[in-house]
């Protein structure tokens, strides 16, 4: 049994992370499902009774926490075959409504956290001469949205980091990919943080924010079940080599190819129809 591949999943106590951890464990992989808040790990502990799933504390924002978790895994398993960088959240708000701290917090988890965990496992993957890293990006990683600029910027950065790591680590047999889902049914909206001044009566963006809230609510009503994404992750884990990126829903393919095909001006014209606030009365 110990020859089963070892997978580390971050942010595994909820949503995509939880669903992936469980499904991967059912496939027989040994899954280290990490969480940052022990009070939210109940479900993981229950799963751990019947599956090769081991809950472990890890806050991707904190270097000691990451290092401790990774060294615990390595001590027990002497290897780590795959890392799924999933921990992340959404900082919503128009740029001017975000503070320095809001932006920094958004990057700390979605980008620096992802780098922190990758950097912790890579030396061992290089030593064992194999390994896979799957970054959970987003459609926002190639199509930035107003009102979600900070989140988009983190996912654009993940896009680039995936590409760099793919080239740089390949000589050691390490494969890196990115999964770019659109809306998926999770608690991501409830867990979203609002920028400091989003709800301030002084914000000049209030009418647009309201419009945007409705827009994203409608979009999320059409969100895909998480199983759809889990299927893609399982496929990527088995693919060899992995593709540069995996898309999930038909919708996401549509966005991807439109963004690729349309010149900027046309793309923006389309966005202008989706977000018609230039024409709002003021």
């Amino acid at each position: 049994m110990n020859s089963r591949p070892v997978v580390l999943v971050t942010g595994a106590n909820s949503g995509i992370g939880l669903a992936c951890a469980e499904a991967i464990a059912r496939k027989g992989y040994r899954v280290y499902a990490t969480y940052r808040n022990p009070r939210k790990a109940g479900h993981l502990w229950r799963l751990s009774r019947s599956l090769p799933l081991f809950p472990l504390l890890m806050d991707v924002n904190r270097t000691p926490s990451v290092q401790k978790a990774v060294s615990q895994i390595l001590k027990k398993e002497k290897r780590v075959d795959a890392l799924i960088n999933n921990a992340g959240f959404v900082m919503a708000g128009f740029w001017e409504d975000l503070s320095d701290k809001d932006v920094r917090d958004q990057f700390e988890t979605n980008v620096f956290g992802l780098l922190r965990v990758s950097r912790a496992v890579l030396p061992f993957m290089r030593k064992q001469g194999s390994g896979k890293i799957l970054n959970i990006g987003s459609v926002a990683g190639f199509a930035a949205l107003p009102g979600l600029g900070a989140y988009s910027a983190t996912k654009f950065a993940v896009n680039s980091i995936t590409e760099a790591l793919r080239m740089e680590t390949r000589p050691w047999g390490i494969d890196v990919t990115e999964i770019n889902p659109g809306e998926i049914q999770t608690s991501v909206v409830q867990n979203a943080r609002l920028g400091e001044r989003v709800k301030s009566p002084q914000s000049p963006y209030t009418p647009f924010t309201k419009y945007f809230e409705n827009f994203s609510k409608e979009r999320f009503e059409k969100a895909a079940p998480v199983e759809k994404l889990v299927g893609v992750v399982l496929k990527a884990l088995e693919d060899r080599p992995m593709k540069r990126r995996y898309l999930v829903k038909l919708d996401d393919y549509f966005t991807y190819y439109l963004r690729w095909l349309l010149p900027d001006a046309l793309w923006e014209w389309g966005l202008g129809i989706m977000f018609p606030w230039s024409r709002f009365p003021r």
């Binding site: 590409e163 760099a164 080239m167 977000f275």
Partner: protein, 283 residues
């Protein structure tokens, strides 16, 4: 408009910032050329004799410095019509090997600093119901190169910032655009900061990174000068409706076109070939 448009530019001690501030001043802008270290102001000062150009201290990493400079400009000139977010530098090394501190520092200037100045200037632009913001992006915001992955990540993020901000401030008649130079011959390559581990023998990436580093130095020789970028910035400012992107330089214009036409696996093969050369070649 009977008064000269007011331009605030960051990172003007050398390179693109310096050339842009001179060009705009010559073209009738009232320029506030900022830099983080006023001790480096002599070359700009000499070149700007007789022009309507003032030099101010502004370190984009420091909130207090940004605030002070922006309010000084508003006090002196009463408005800010143009902001050029130019300040930036490149981190060099393997993505795995940067420390937390190095990662923070790279994002602090290239991304958080750019946002800090932008947010400081926007209220005034909204009040006056006009304004233009140009972010100096890069070819590295559209294509990732091994060895400068972290720098590329900041420039990818700047693309997202520009795309989203542009739509957010359009109702206030503020235009935002991106100038994307390829390799430009400036002090950029000397100002690059290598990851600390770069100098350590134990770094597994060191041999290949050393070669990538030498190669990129080579490429900067004979590349277009910063005055080319200044010219493109001026053109963007003159376009009645500023486009989202202005690429300049053979590489910045044509590499993305090539990437666009290639299926992604072919593109990857090409990039890998390029990088693979460094892996195989003896040091």
């Amino acid at each position: 408009m009977d008064k000269y448009p007011v331009a605030l530019i960051t990172g003007c001690s050398t390179g693109i910032g310096l050339e842009t501030s001179l060009l705009l001043a010559r073209q009738g802008y009232r320029v506030f050329a900022t830099m983080r270290d006023l001790k480096k102001s002599s070359s700009l000062r000499q070149a700007a004799v007789g022009l309507s150009l003032e030099i101010l201290q502004l370190d984009v990493d420091k909130p207090a410095s940004v605030k002070k400079a922006v309010s000084a400009v508003l006090k002196k000139a009463g408005s800010i019509d143009v902001l050029i977010n130019n300040a930036g530098w490149g981190a060099f090394g393997a993505t795995e090997e940067f420390t937390d501190k190095e990662i923070h520092a790279q994002f602090e200037t290239n991304l958080f600093g750019l946002l800090r100045v932008t947010r400081a200037v926007l209220p005034a632009m909204r009040d006056q119901k006009s304004g233009r913001i140009i972010n100096v992006g890069s070819l590295a915001g559209k294509m990732t190169f091994a060895g400068i992955g972290l720098y590329c990540a900041t420039k990818y993020a700047v693309e997202a910032v520009t795309e989203s901000l542009r739509l957010e401030v359009r109702p206030f008649n503020i235009q935002v655009g991106l100038v994307e130079p390829g390799v430009i011959e400036t002090r950029f390559k000397d100002n690059r900061r290598k990851a600390q581990t770069f100098f350590q023998e134990k770094s597994a990436y060191q041999p290949v990174m050393e070669k990538v580093f030498a190669w990129s130095n080579e490429r900067a020789k004979g590349a277009p000068g910063p005055e080319k970028v200044a010219g493109t910035i001026l053109k963007a400012l003159r376009d009645r409706r500023m486009a989202l992107r202005y690429a300049l330089g053979f590489d910045a214009v044509w590499y993305p076109v090539a990437k666009w036409f290639m299926p992604s696996f072919v593109y990857e093969l090409v990039m890998r070939r390029m990088y693979g050369r460094f892996l195989k070649e003896p040091a």
